[in-house]
Symmetry: C2
Subunit: 392 residues, 2 copies
């Protein structure tokens, strides 16, 4: 085993310049219950960028005048107390092969190809198994070093063996976004026959939600930008609503046009059972109005602003339910592994880059001109796991 | 049976002047499945006033510039399409004695003292029993004439016999507010040991929620205005938080002071399981922040504004759940009747007026300088059911 490795290391909160590529970073050592994984691919996430910018560190009062989109304001408001220590290797959606195991883990696992559940469950059940305590959950790439490196150490329980024959880079498109989407569907008890309206359908969570909704027999309707319809429909969306159809000249949101489009797509008025939202902002009220009485809205992200106004009158007259969610639970991840093995969900690889080009990969990620997830491959593994699947 | 009666008749949308007192209004006739009730007392509700002002008729876009508190704007925005027809007798919380029955109802019921479930369930189950369809529910005093009169006709199933020995005027404090509060607790599955933070605790829904939370073993914490603490504590509140402690000089809401007060009352930080809210407005964000992770907020009214900003970031990072509710289901009402008969909840009579003085009663109701509900008694019954319990 080498003593040093290549790694993209986050050296502090700030812009991309805080991500520094090292060729001589120490290879981590597995603890008794851990495995050491030789990374072959690692998926990108919005969370990595938001954490770098310290956007999760503060809980803005929406009545205040702070600019909600200013990373600088976010960082300033934290007084340096973000819970993150440096250096830190980010990267949550890890695929690789087990290269070594701790002394409480079976040696038989060496060589297994694995997909990593990135959740760190600090709380334990009475039998010692990890339990999701929502106030006490962290994740790999934040509370511990992640997969933007040649090697990573994770708890053995988090490393799930995958036998289905798909390339490693494609396998790395599952993970954070998939778990987030599955947990959202679970929290609202989405069931067979439900109409599920999914915003940001071209993104990681959105594209996963389309497939996962179908996997449980529900009917997904997608909201996305023009040009992505074909791919979105091929993922399983019943219909595609184009953002351009309800965005006016100045970029504003035309709620009435949106509701007409939803009614046309779902073939009835206010009949949506569940909204899976990653957009928020000016769309928020329209999304609530698309719901049937007693319908469920759930958010795990807010691409277009996170402090919209809420009409409580609408909420109580229509008995609406609004939920927030992030990450997921072990049973959600187990279900995803089953879906992958059974071929019920497939990868959506939006792009692939060498790890050393992470800055460029994140720029592409943020431009959102693709469907699915973007993946990086360690430079040393590029010929084997990157080049064959590279699409740009 | 007399042919005419006294009644306070709503003649159109608008101010109190639209409520006109008649001495020669026709006595209604029961249909086959109905009972005719000789009214002895009828409780007041915010809903009566909001419906008169047509505030429920429109579903404002919170992004618009309309003044949310303007009744005139509400009425103008409806184009006259509010779903209400005139003349209409309002009054939902009816107590009285069955004076006559339809030909499908047992004659034995004549003479029963009853409390009326005001819900009109248009939808029926396959066995013909009423079923709550949230998109198809109405109520007595809106979709049919109510209890601001000497007589009222209601479906026999809605008239619940009450044997507990409490005065009719006190019995009329149960009803709309009680059902609303019980359904809110049901929707969020409030259970024994839960910490329940209740705003507007001096009001009808709030004071009912305190008792109903205790009835299911939960621990209610009240938010109210100074001067009402003693009464609120006697209803069963574990602690009382005074609005004046977190309202600044200019009437603004001091969120940090509020959260400190909640932490002191509940003896730990962000540990509230359920918020039962009737206030909304500038308190909204602070109420969400008082919740534990995966906690539940539920609104059935918004005394201080219904389009606050929501911080979706707070909602998804803390896995929060936000619900709206109004009215309730038959099983909620049945539970309330059981609680009344068992003495688990008691009446909170805030005032009592002759029916002809409804204008004055509603002014008192809106000033909110009392705890519980305000009741009117038909003038012809004042000596028997009003005077003995009159407190002002």
């Amino acid at each position: 085993m080498p003593k040093t490795m290549s790694a993209m290391v986050l050296t502090g909160h700030g812009g991309p310049e805080k991500l520094v590529y090292y060729n001589d970073f120490p290879v981590p050592q597995p603890g008794a219950h851990d495995v050491l994984i030789e990374v072959s691919a690692c998926g990108l996430n919005n969370t990595d960028i938001k954490v770098r910018e310290a956007q999760y560190a503060v809980d803005f009062d929406p009545n205040s005048d702070l600019d909600e989109t200013s990373a600088a304001a976010s960082i300033a408001a934290t007084n340096g107390e973000t819970g993150l220590s440096f250096p830190r290797i980010q990267g949550a959606d890890i695929v690789g092969r087990i290269a070594a195991v701790g002394n409480k883990v079976s040696q038989d696992r060496v060589g297994e190809r694995v997909l990593v559940d990135f959740s760190i469950y600090h709380a334990k059940d009475t039998d010692g198994s990890p339990r999701m305590d929502l106030s006490n959950v962290d994740y790999i790439g934040h509370g511990a070093d992640g997969g933007f490196a040649d090697y990573v150490v994770v708890p053995a329980l988090n490393a799930h063996k995958i036998q289905r024959n798909i390339p490693d880079a494609e396998l790395a498109t599952f993970g954070c976004a998939t778990l987030t989407a599955e947990h959202m569907l679970s929290r609202v008890s989405a069931k067979s026959g439900d109409k599920i309206l999914i915003t940001g359908a071209g993104g990681g969570v959105g594209s996963a939600a389309i497939q996962l909704a179908r996997a449980r027999g529900a009917i997904p309707y997608a909201v996305t930008s023009r040009g992505k319809e074909e791919q979105i429909l091929s993922l399983g969306a019943e219909a595609c609503i184009c953002r351009q159809d309800f965005t006016d000249q100045s970029g504003g949101f035309d709620k009435d046009a949106f509701l007409v489009a939803v009614t046309e797509a779902t073939r009835s008025n206010r009949s949506v059972d569940v909204v899976i939202d990653q957009v928020g902002g000016s769309m928020f009220h329209g999304l609530l109005q698309a719901l049937r009485p007693d319908g469920h809205y759930i958010s795990a992200g807010t691409i277009s602003g996170y402090t919209p106004r809420i009409n409580l009158h609408t909420v109580y007259m229509a008995f609406l339910n609004i939920h927030g969610s992030s990450q997921g639970q072990p049973e959600d991840f187990a279900r995803i592994v089953d879906y992958i093995e059974a071929g019920k969900i497939g990868p959506t690889l939006g792009g692939i880059f060498p790890l050393s080009q992470l800055h460029h990969a994140q720029k592409t990620f943020q431009a959102k001109n693709y469907v699915g997830n973007i993946v990086v491959v360690p430079d040393a593994k590029w010929k084997e796991f990157g080049e064959p699947d590279a699409r740009r």
